[in-house]
Symmetry: C2
Subunit: 304 residues, 2 copies
């Protein structure tokens, strides 16, 4: 599909609307930019989710945001009038736990992430090491002596780390270089974090780039749009027919590419990081949605 | 010159040796990897420098390392039996001061660098702002509130910063995005820091990359191999005929590209970051030296 053929769901004819809503049983939504933004609520979201449920659609969520705890998400969903259960939502920390268990991983993990993310790994029984967090004395010799600790690290895990710094990156580099079997696993690889309209900031994916370039490794990616997550997602959510899933997201790279890799139908909403221009200028078929809408609320009109 | 034609200076015939030593009046040396490494002295360096002086060659130094003070450099050179004067050496902090004065820069500078680097700017009369250095609370909203301080920053200066972190990069990004006239100036842009043989680490250039990618800006680069430094260097060192300068360095990108841009003769020594294989595999003519040697000491043999 070329970008000029992408249909706004409210431009569909009555017949096409019916065919579209009959074409999926399950709606998987991204969270940030679709359900809410960092600073602002997105209108009509709770209503839209409830309408989908009323019409028998199963709701699931996949976010790249492991910065919040499950309890935080459950409370956020309650404000939308939606009851969340733990099996409804995937984020990178959960997907990484699932992956590590599937490969029977044992050993120490060096973790560049937030505390809620680390807690998910710790609660699943994994042993972590981290830091240094505090500034180090400005001596290359002393910094190397500190970061080159030869701890028996078997996996470097990198996600959003608001306090990522040069010494932590050096430490990760050395673990990976010193042990060719040490795994490199990534959660969120977003190059851009969307805060509010027109306000995008450096995303965590840049720091994974630094590590990949300096070590020559490629990470196993368990956030969107990671292929490894795309392989896992069907099992996690018990999806039988991927073609009957509608994936709704606000980012071309994280959401549309991920949905493409999963074989889902894909819908972009313009309430988050990607603008209509971004979408129309996109030429990579993996990044181009099948449908688009201004926001999730537009979906309710298809059921009227 | 293709890499297969690069001559080892000790493979030159007696006639060629004479022609070579007569072809330059001035030798400009890189420091780290040529005169010493982070961990180890390089044998024969003091002798080589003294031999060059004895034979009437002017000695100058250009390093990307602003992490040391001038006093530290003077002491290092004293251990080699060489008396350093301030006008003999350029490093990025000095070159940036010169550049800022040449454009009559006024205003606040956000500086991502080490304290010795910052001191050079402060001593030259510039006003700096910096940080945050300490870890911030893990809340995107709170971090934005902290880093988005709307200080009247007119230039972001980035060099080696051993404690560079995500909040500092976000702050730099916001200054640059909020003021299209805010300058982006870089010192050392090395992608690799060479510590000792076979031990290379993430270099500061990766963090400039992050800033350039997230802001769409290109930095003015006043470390090697920056074009802006190449324009300045003739004036700083009072060079009349660039063809009669021999530049000696250990890095293909920082040193050979820089020497190419300056129109210097260029010699690679294998005592630092680049290996013979790196040199022979190089196809970019700007990165290929005219001559090479195992180490600076080899030069002394041309004068025997």
């Amino acid at each position: 599909m070329s970008s000029s053929q992408i249909r706004h769901i409210l431009d569909l004819s009555p017949k096409e609307r019916q065919r579209f809503v009959d074409s999926f049983d399950c709606v998987i939504c991204d969270c940030d930019g679709v359900l809410w933004t960092v600073f602002d609520p997105i209108p009509g979201v709770g209503e839209a989710l409830k309408t989908l449920q009323t019409h028998g659609k199963t709701l699931r969520y996949i976010t790249n945001n492991s910065v919040f705890t499950y309890d935080h998400y459950a409370a956020q969903f309650r404000t939308l009038g939606i009851t969340l259960t733990p099996s409804d939502i995937i984020h990178p920390a959960l997907a990484i736990v699932r992956h590590l268990k599937s490969i029977h991983f044992e050993g120490l993990i060096f973790c560049l992430a937030t505390q809620p993310f680390k807690n998910v790994l710790i609660n699943a029984g994994f042993e972590l090491t981290e830091g240094p967090d505090q500034p180090l004395e400005e001596s290359f010799k002393k910094i190397i002596a500190t970061v080159h600790d030869r701890a028996p690290v078997r996996a470097v895990v990198i996600d959003v780390d608001f306090n990522i710094n040069y010494p932590k990156l050096l430490r990760a580099e050395l673990y990976l270089k010193n042990d060719p079997k040490c795994l490199l696993i990534a959660g969120a690889t977003d190059k851009v974090l969307h805060a509010r309209k027109g306000f995008n900031l450096i995303g965590p994916g840049h720091f994974l780039d630094v590590l990949e370039q300096s070590t020559g490794r490629k990470a196993t990616v368990l956030g969107k749009p990671g292929k490894e997550l795309a392989n896992l997602v069907g099992d996690i959510f018990g999806i039988e027919d991927r073609g009957r899933v509608l994936f709704v997201g606000d980012m071309l790279e994280q959401d549309m590419v991920f949905a493409s890799r999963c074989g889902f139908q894909k819908m972009l909403v313009l309430s988050g990081g990607a603008s209509k221009d971004d979408m129309l200028q996109e030429r990579d078929v993996e990044r181009v949605p099948d449908y688009y809408a201004d926001r999730l609320e537009d979906l309710t009109k298809l059921f009227e």
